[in-house]
């Protein structure tokens, strides 16, 4: 490792460690690298500007953010919840199941775990704790756990970012996430059922079945969104970026005309919020572009691939090692940073070991999401703590069983690649 690269990493860790925004930390660290190496300091601006100006797929990021924010505002979430209560509220652990199913459906539109937890999660926790049937800690824990499904089921911003660094198809990545997302939902519901039965949680009074069609009809247009999105991409009708625009337009029409839940003023607020998120993410992406340029010019990923292949690591051992590392990193770093900065280091090794990059990408995204609820520093735990004021200690005490089954689900995906690759192959993926 060269002197300039060592100093670059040192600057990065020190700055990020003392609380400098990650984007600025990377930017400054790259300047340290260029200065010590005696290169042109303008390279930083050049890499960010050219990178953002030339990559078409990144346009999906602001568009998905707009779509998610429109969906989370207004009364769309309430209609969806009514539908979920009518459908699964009658079973043991009822509201816990509603929570998971609502996340599954919502993930089809928001693509952001934090948005899910802060939006629909807050409403759910209120419902679960209202009559004292569920402890606040339990309600918060299952909400956090089910919010991790969001970015696994398409549309998914983390997967767009992975597609950017790995040069894989967004379409196949999205398809690859569908079954794993459902698996995560199933294991969470199983654990919820088990805990509810053991604790003897009271049953909800069921919504009469004859009301179900009515609830389904009001929720139906919102339920259609993921289908439109996937049809657009896989029917070969639109590119994934265009599909993101279609999703945003559909959300807008739905909220404004069909549900009549959107005023001009709230639309402005939604766009302003979307600008802030897009700009903050865009800056981190820009930072990652410079860092990847430096890492590539230092030839780090290839050296790492050489070393790991030289050790004769089996693909399974490699996957398990990487996943343990990602889970640990997930406790301290956020998913965007891990996917843009850490994952590219492993991609050449994957290619040499013959590990499928769609398979690797989906597992990496799932794992980053599980990292979001891993104590002590899962970001979702903090978000829920901030919006509901339920203490972290209570949430963490209840989150372990859910974390456990999610990790089991990850292991299952690692050992049975077909969970991920079956659906993309049905649609013509040849890997």
């Amino acid at each position: 490792m060269s002197l300039e690269f060592t100093l670059c990493l040192l600057a990065l860790f020190v700055l990020a460690g003392i609380g400098t925004p990650v984007a600025y930390s990377i930017l400054l660290a790259s300047l340290v690298y260029l200065a010590v190496a005696g290169q042109d300091l303008a390279l930083t601006a050049e890499q960010i500007l050219q990178g953002l100006y030339e990559s078409f797929i990144l346009l999906a990021v602001p568009l998905f953010i707009v779509a998610a924010n429109i969906m989370n505002a207004g009364t769309i979430s309430e209609r969806l919840l009514n539908f979920c209560v009518a459908a699964v509220g009658r079973f043991r652990g009822g509201l816990g199941h509603v929570n998971v199913v609502a996340s599954l459906i919502f993930s089809g539109m928001s693509g952001s775990a934090v948005a899910d937890a802060a939006g629909i999660g807050k409403i759910m926790i209120g419902m679960m704790t209202k009559d004292g049937r569920y402890s606040p800690g339990y309600a918060a824990a299952i909400t956090a756990a089910s919010a991790t499904i969001g970015p696994v089921i398409p549309p998914s911003i983390p997967m767009v970012l992975y597609a950017l660094v790995s040069d894989t198809s967004i379409g196949y990545l999205f398809l690859g996430g569908v079954l794993p997302g459902f698996v995560m939902g199933v294991v969470l519901m199983a654990m919820n059922y088990y805990l509810a039965a053991r604790r003897g949680t009271a049953l909800e009074s069921p919504v009469p079945l004859r009301h179900l069609p009515q609830h389904t009809i009001t929720a139906f247009p919102a339920l259609l969104m993921p289908a439109i999105l996937l049809y657009g991409i896989y029917g070969g009708v639109t590119t994934p970026t265009e599909a993101a625009a279609v999703a945003a337009a559909y959300a807008l029409i739905l909220a404004a005309l069909f549900y009549r839940a959107l005023s001009f003023r709230s639309l402005y607020q939604i766009l302003a919020g979307s600008v802030r998120s897009s700009a903050a993410v865009g800056l981190v992406i820009g930072g990652a572009l410079i860092l990847n340029y430096i890492v590539a010019s230092e030839n780090i990923p290839t050296k790492m691939a050489g070393a790991l292949v030289g050790l004769e690591v089996t693909p399974i051992a490699f996957m398990i090692g990487v996943n343990i590392l990602l889970l640990l990193l997930g406790c301290v770093l956020d998913a965007t940073t891990i996917i843009l900065v850490i994952i590219p280091l492993f991609l050449p090794t994957c290619r040499q070991l013959g590990i499928d990059l769609i398979y690797f990408g989906v597992i990496a995204v799932v794992n980053c999401m599980v990292g979001l609820i891993t104590p002590p520093y899962g970001i979702l735990l903090f978000v829920i703590n901030a919006v509901t004021r339920i203490s972290l200690r209570e949430i963490i005490a209840e989150v372990w069983p859910f974390l456990g089954v999610l990790i089991l689900a990850v292991l299952m995906m690692i050992f049975v690649p077909d969970f991920i690759l079956w659906l993309p192959r049905v649609f013509g993926y040849s890997g």
């Binding site: 400098t20 346009l59 707009v66 009708v237 700009a279």
Partner: protein, 171 residues
């Protein structure tokens, strides 16, 4: 001389206009995209310039937004360590952060300016916009961020670290 309060109200007004501009750019980008889709799939008559306009707006949204709209808690930040230390240490951390940003961006500014102005000889592929105009938003971003963190250094030295978040709200 104007009072501090008057300056603050001017800055607030400018901040609101900057946000108007950012929202307008995002709305324009969204509409351009819809136009592109309609022209390509409904009218079967693809337009070439839409894609380039979207990419230009995207670059502008990122840097304009980062310069004027993004609040500190919107940033992706690793704050475990920061939150676990006392107020005095936080002040030191926050000052180091602000100084590093000011020094780094100032040091790279001349070279970056050369890079941007060099592009006056080149125009974009379809819309024929001069590329130095497209890239100039990075210079705006750099100047705004330098100014913002320079003011923050003064505030931090005078008032110490803010209570909760890693950094105070922008000056």
């Amino acid at each position: 001389m104007w009072s501090t309060r008057r300056w603050l109200s001017v800055f607030r007004w400018l901040g609101a206009r900057a946000e108007n501009m950012a929202v307008a750019m995002l709305a324009a980008m969204f509409l351009t995209f819809v136009l592109q889709i309609v022209s390509r799939y409904v009218l079967n008559h693809p337009i070439g310039w839409t894609l380039e306009l979207c990419l230009t707006l995207w670059v502008w949204i990122v840097f304009w937004g980062s310069a004027f709209c993004v609040r500190d808690h919107d940033h992706v930040t690793f704050d475990v360590l920061y939150l676990s230390v006392g107020r005095r240490t936080r002040q030191v951390f926050a000052i180091v952060t602000a100084v590093a940003i000011v020094v780094g961006l100032l040091a790279s500014f001349p070279a970056t300016w050369d890079y941007i102005t060099f592009y006056k000889i080149k125009k974009s592929a379809t819309l024929k916009i001069r590329l130095d105009y497209v890239f100039s938003v990075y210079a705006i971003f750099a100047v705004a961020v330098i100014a913002r963190y320079a003011v923050r250094i003064a505030t931090l030295i005078r008032n110490g670290a803010p209570e909760d978040s890693p950094e105070a709200d922008s000056p």
